[in-house]
């Protein structure tokens, strides 16, 4: 029997479908078939890719609103403040161009891979995940939305409709560095995003996040504290300050001690390059 493949034009219709029973939400679909050898996806699908209000980037006084189905290509080619540079660099590292053309920002978050390229830069932007049900809306900080590897706080009946970046987090400049054993199409050994705002050479805000070195990407708050109020000096970043925030593992890509060391090195480089 053919299961329903539903592709509504409006969010209200989509929410009604979702309230109606167990349904997979599909957006860019770059992770769904990638996770199975099957030729047919089982179960019912709600495809939200045709809902125009879910795609696009809005920048206003309150900050930045990135629609759930905004693609990585959309993000990479958008005119965005320098604080989003890390996010835009990450957008060019999500798979190849085929993936970037279809993969979406919300899909990257909902898939919740420990190595999701979008997460570290969004963490440095204090991103909020906006979820809707047919009855209402709530927002969660990204670090609360991601609860573990392949796990999120999204509940049945909820759709991620947007990612919000508050205006304060759009200050300064961002950067992103990804480390892998090859140039393209690579799952990170480690990746680092930073955002720094300076006034007269003194760090006002520092946001540093590391991915692929633990079950979920994390902000390095101790390190951030050490940076704020000082002239921007990458040498303040010690291996210990970075390592204590991470819980890397050994796998086919690298061993854990290397990951911690490389992360610290990448943080130093990202900070050195962020204002360049």
């Amino acid at each position: 029997m053919t299961e329903a493949y539903l592709r509504p034009d409006t969010l209200d219709e989509a929410l009604a479908v979702l309230a109606d029973g167990e349904t997979r939400i599909a957006a860019g679909c770059t992770d769904l078939f990638a996770a199975t050898a099957r030729k047919i996806l089982p179960g019912r699908t709600l495809d939200i890719s045709r809902i125009p209000t879910l795609r696009g980037i809005l920048h206003d006084d309150s900050g930045l609103t990135i629609g759930a189905t905004t693609t990585w290509t959309d993000i990479a080619t958008a005119e965005l403040p320098p604080a989003c540079r890390g996010l835009q660099l990450a957008a060019r590292e999500v798979g190849g161009p085929q993936i970037q053309n279809r993969g979406t920002i919300a899909g990257n978050l909902c898939n919740a891979s420990p190595a999701a390229d979008g997460v570290p830069p969004l963490l440095t932007l204090d991103a909020q995940v906006v979820l809707r049900t047919k009855d209402g809306e709530r927002s969660l900080p990204l670090d609360q939305f991601l609860t573990g590897p392949r796990r999120t706080a999204r509940e049945a009946g909820e759709i991620v409709v947007a990612i919000r970046v508050p205006a304060e987090a759009l200050e300064g400049a961002g950067h992103f560095l990804k480390l892998g054993a090859r140039r393209h199409l690579v799952i990170s050994i480690a990746m680092v995003a930073v955002r720094v705002s300076l006034v007269e050479g003194i760090v006002q805000q520092a946001a540093v996040a590391v991915g692929a070195c633990g079950p979920v990407a994390v902000r390095l708050t101790q390190l951030e504290k050490a940076l704020v109020g000082q002239p921007l000096d990458p040498h303040l970043v010690t291996d210990d300050l970075v390592a204590q925030a991470l819980s890397p593992i050994d796998d086919v890509r690298a061993d854990a001690p290397y990951r911690a060391h490389a992360s610290a090195e990448l943080v130093r480089r990202a900070l050195a390059q962020v204002t360049a």
Partner: protein, 908 residues
């Protein structure tokens, strides 16, 4: 659900399940077979199509999401830009096997529509989501970059001038217009589908449960097991060591070994959940490394192979130990290499059906006659009742020498009487296909105070995995080649192939020689450093020259290695200066330069491996070349035709190629061991010359005469004299030819004695490569900046194709050096197992050295495997020159390089 797509500007409707992969719908329902399926995971990009003008992996898109969209595939893409890009791909040699070509061209199509005259960076970025395993990407980048420029039409070389001409591959057009048919593309849509039930254990005994009851629960599905195999359920490439069951019988020896087949209509079989298949497993202890397999008390895999030792090869001359003890300098080390996956973009696939009482198998392969004979044996048929028609093969590199789907689909077709197809998924391919042997190699090399090599000891243990496959070939080739192409008066080398429960190690471009070259060439750098000699000069001083004797005692009549090293010398000086200048600037990166050489014997080691070529002229005036050498992208369809054309004295475009097909083409052996240009080339040369002699005899004209074919007529002309042969008046032979010649060539070799003394090969090829790298001293990452590759190939029959071999071999050598590590049970996909992308490849300077070989056709030597041998050691030596890190375990992943840098700094 009815889905509609706009294709070629027209709306097309398809009634199908919207949850299917778009790639499947395009291929099966709309017949757009240019959409290739390489991984079903968005890792390889072979299925790249344009959806509303943007490149996308069709395997990832549910068909329902593309409803209403405009879709462009390689066969539907038309217009000026399409024509120019197709032409550019052919002219640059950008399509080798052709399996990635549709994806590459569609990715380029997106770019060219926005940016008709792109920069190189734009090209590399646009194509970065498509993997190629053949070309090394250089020719692809060149093709896209030049696609906007006018290009003159190709002119065919004059008669007698085909050899040496950079003609476009003769079988190229279907590769660039999307009509090439690979293993998964042939046969009727309604063929039954075969799937295998595979072992979840590395080593286990098993009993099948009530398979009949399971079949009853799944009406329409036929179950086949070892009990159904009518012949000898043991195949292998070396008859007396054949040990591999088509379907396991009571015991599985590696992860993913097939224990049963399920056969039925596609919709039924594809939906089956095979984990419900009734099998009871009793897991056994297992080993996965050569050290574990050889350990006392290790679980044995095969009766009669104590210590899990499959075979040991040895070459010994002089007194290595005494000479080492007396040497001024001795370098020693232990080196480890990993399992390496062939990672051709086309997983194994094929279809079998019966015509009368003949079983026909159309599948991707490198060895049609061996497929026929081994499949016939397994199925209990005489060989002449099995016909193998190779499909286009989307990369092979050695693994498609072994049987894959052939006995399984053959069995299914015999039992059901219907056409049966099997298409392996990426995971299945990586589980069930062979790999490059991992090796643990210990070596010592000595030199005298003047820098002359005195002696070498080499002992290699190679993980040959669960079954014999080509393990014996590795064990015999490695001791012959482990000295490298250098004079080594005292020598003792052994290589052992040890069974483990890892995947079967088989043939992979170089048969163990690339692994051994790593040990030898890193130790050569140790010696040069100890001697204070320039590393290139040290190699030049010890390089084989004409008349030198190998460690097997064979005299080499013609060696172009010194020419290769001399050709690298100017690059070497420039590179050393550039590295030094960079390093003076400080910073976190260090540059370095490395060099390594190769040699490689072409053809089987001391064993017969004849090729037979037939050329015939029909009464209508068609000239047919029966070319049985399978072209897996390397170019034998073109090269063999070029040789035949010049031997016969006709223009290249007069030749029509027949085959390969075991019913139509005489045996040209396997596409392996870099033997086709040499061995089949010699057969083609002989056949062409024989046919020419026959024609000249019939016309009584001298050797200087020219031959011209027209409809029904053959004209032979010399000076003012012209003789016409009325072909229609002649009688056809049993093959349908009025004039024909068939010739066989088998390389003259001798058996090796107990010390490996003899003449194992009739022709050798030589080469040397220089690598320039940049090492990040804080992260341990390596970027290869440039490789200059000088290869003595005797005669470049087709320089474009030869350069393609060089660039592609370097890509695989770079992968071996820096990123490729297959971990059984962990990396059976193309995102955990990494091969080089377009962004990983350096600038390559191919240098073709043509020092004729007295035995090769028109002086040609083999090239295909030679080209990857020096790459990895050259890169490792460059890493060390840059950073001090002496790498002894490949791949040189960043954490290993960083650890080695630390070790070099602290001297621990």
């Amino acid at each position: 659900m009815t889905l509609s797509f706009t294709i070629r500007g027209e709306r097309q409707e398809v009634e199908t399940d919207p949850h299917r992969r778009l790639s499947e719908v395009l291929r099966d329902d709309l017949g757009l077979k240019s959409v290739k399926v390489g991984c079903d995971a968005g890792d390889c990009g072979a299925c790249t199509v344009l959806i509303d003008g943007r490149q996308a992996c069709a395997c990832l898109v549910p068909a329902g999401q593309a409803d209403g969209a405009s879709i462009e595939t390689l066969e539907t893409w038309s217009g000026g830009a399409a024509d120019r890009l197709r032409d550019a791909f052919l002219a640059e040699g950008a399509a080798q096997c052709g399996i990635c070509t549709p994806g590459m061209m569609m990715a380029a199509a997106e770019l060219l529509s926005a940016s008709p005259d792109p920069t190189e960076d734009e090209v590399r970025t646009a194509l970065s989501g498509v993997l190629c395993r053949c070309t090394g990407y250089a020719s692809i980048v060149a093709a896209v970059l030049s696609a906007s420029r006018p290009r003159p039409a190709e002119t065919m070389p004059a008669p007698g001038q085909s050899v040496g001409a950079p003609v476009r591959r003769l079988d190229g057009r279907p590769k660039v217009d999307g009509t090439e048919m690979f293993g998964a593309d042939v046969g009727p849509r309604d063929a039954l589908v075969v799937r295998a039930v595979r072992s979840p254990h590395f080593h286990a005994a098993f009993t099948l449960g009530d398979t009949a009851a399971w079949a009853v629960e799944h009406p329409g599905v036929t179950v086949l097991t070892a009990a159904d195999v009518p012949g000898v359920n043991r195949f292998g490439v070396i008859p007396h060591l054949a040990d591999q069951p088509a379907l396991a019988d009571g015991i599985v020896r590696h992860l993913g070994e097939a224990v049963a087949l399920v056969v039925g209509e596609a919709s039924l079989v594809e939906a089956l959940v095979l984990s419900t298949f009734p099998v009871t497993w009793e897991a056994h202890p297992y080993s996965l490394t050569e050290a574990e397999g050889a350990k006392d008390g290790a679980q044995l895999l095969h009766e009669g192979r104590p210590g899990n030792l499959l075979i040991e090869g040895r070459v010994s001359t002089g007194d290595a130990e005494t000479a080492l003890a007396a040497s001024a300098h001795v370098a020693d080390g232990t080196f480890r290499t990993s399992y390496v996956e062939h990672a051709y973009i086309e997983p194994e696939a094929g279809i079998a059906w019966l015509e009368g009482d003949t079983l026909i198998i159309a599948a991707c392969t490198q060895a049609p006659v061996m497929d026929r004979d081994e499949t016939a044996k397994v199925l209990g048929l005489p060989p002449d009742r099995v016909r193998i028609i190779p499909t286009a093969t989307g990369g092979g590199f050695g693994a498609k020498l072994d049987l894959s789907v052939q006995p399984l689909i053959g069995l299914a077709a015999l039992k059901t009487g219907k056409p049966c197809r099997m298409v392996w998924g990426r995971g299945e391919s990586m589980l069930a296909s062979t790999k490059r042997h991992p090796g643990t190699m210990t070596a010592r090399i000595g030199a005298d105070a003047e820098g002359r090599i005195t002696a070498m000891r080499f002992d290699g243990a190679f993980n040959t995995g669960a079954y014999a496959s080509w393990g014996p070939t590795v064990a015999s080739r490695v001791p012959v080649h482990a000295s490298g192409p250098y004079r080594t008066p005292n020598y003792r080398a052994t290589a052992r192939a040890i069974h483990t429960n890892g995947p079967t190690s088989g043939a992979f471009r170089g048969f163990g020689v690339p692994q051994a070259a790593i040990a030898q060439e890193v130790l050569y750098d140790d010696l040069a450093l100890a001697l204070g000699m320039d590393r290139l000069a040290f190699r030049r001083a010890n390089a084989f020259v004409d008349g030198d004797r190998t460690t097997c005692g064979q005299t080499l009549p013609s060696v172009g290695l010194a020419d290769c090293l001399d050709a690298l010398a100017p690059h070497w000086e420039v590179a050393l200066e550039a590295a030094e200048a960079h390093n003076r600037g400080g910073g976190v990166t260090r540059r370095g330069v490395g060099v390594a050489s190769c040699w490689y014997g072409c053809g089987n080691t001391s064993l017969p491996n004849p090729s037979t070529v037939r050329i015939g002229i029909t009464s209508a005036g068609r000239l047919c070349l029966h070319q049985g050498a399978t072209d897996i992208g390397q170019g034998s369809n073109t090269v063999i035709a070029q040789i035949a054309a010049d031997a016969l004295g006709v223009p290249l475009d007069a030749i029509e190629i027949v085959g390969p097909d075991t019913a139509l083409t005489p045996d040209c052996g396997k596409t392996s061991a870099s033997r086709q240009t040499f061995v089949t080339g010699r057969a083609a040369q002989a056949a062409g010359e024989a046919l020419r002699a026959l024609i000249l005899r019939q016309t009584n004209l001298p050797e200087t005469a020219s031959i011209r074919l027209s409809a029904g007529r053959l004209s032979v002309e010399d000076g003012g004299t012209r003789q016409d042969i009325d072909l229609a008046a002649l009688t056809s032979d049993s093959h349908g030819y009025v004039l024909a010649a068939e010739e066989t060539y088998d390389p003259p070799t001798t058996a090796l004695d107990a010390d490996g003394q003899g003449a194992p090969y009739a022709v050798y090829g030589f080469g040397a490569q220089l690598a320039e790298v940049e090492v990040d001293m804080a992260l341990g990452t390596t970027r290869v900046l440039h490789i200059a590759a000088a290869h003595d190939l005797g005669r470049a029959i087709n320089p474009t194709l030869a350069r393609g071999q060089v660039e592609g071999g370097i890509a695989q050598g770079l992968g071996l050096a820096l990123m490729e590590e297959f971990v059984p049970g962990r990396t059976e996909n193309l995102h955990d197992y990494l091969i080089p992308t377009i962004g990983d490849m350096p600038r390559i300077t191919p240098i073709l050295i043509e020092k004729p070989d007295p035995e090769g056709p028109f002086g040609a030597r083999g090239l295909g495997e030679h080209v990857l041998i020096p790459t990895a050691p050259a890169i490792l030596n460059a890493i060390r020159h840059a950073s001090g890190a002496r790498i002894t375990h490949v791949p040189a992943l960043p954490h290993r390089v960083l650890a080695a840098i630390g070790k070099a700094r602290h001297g621990t």
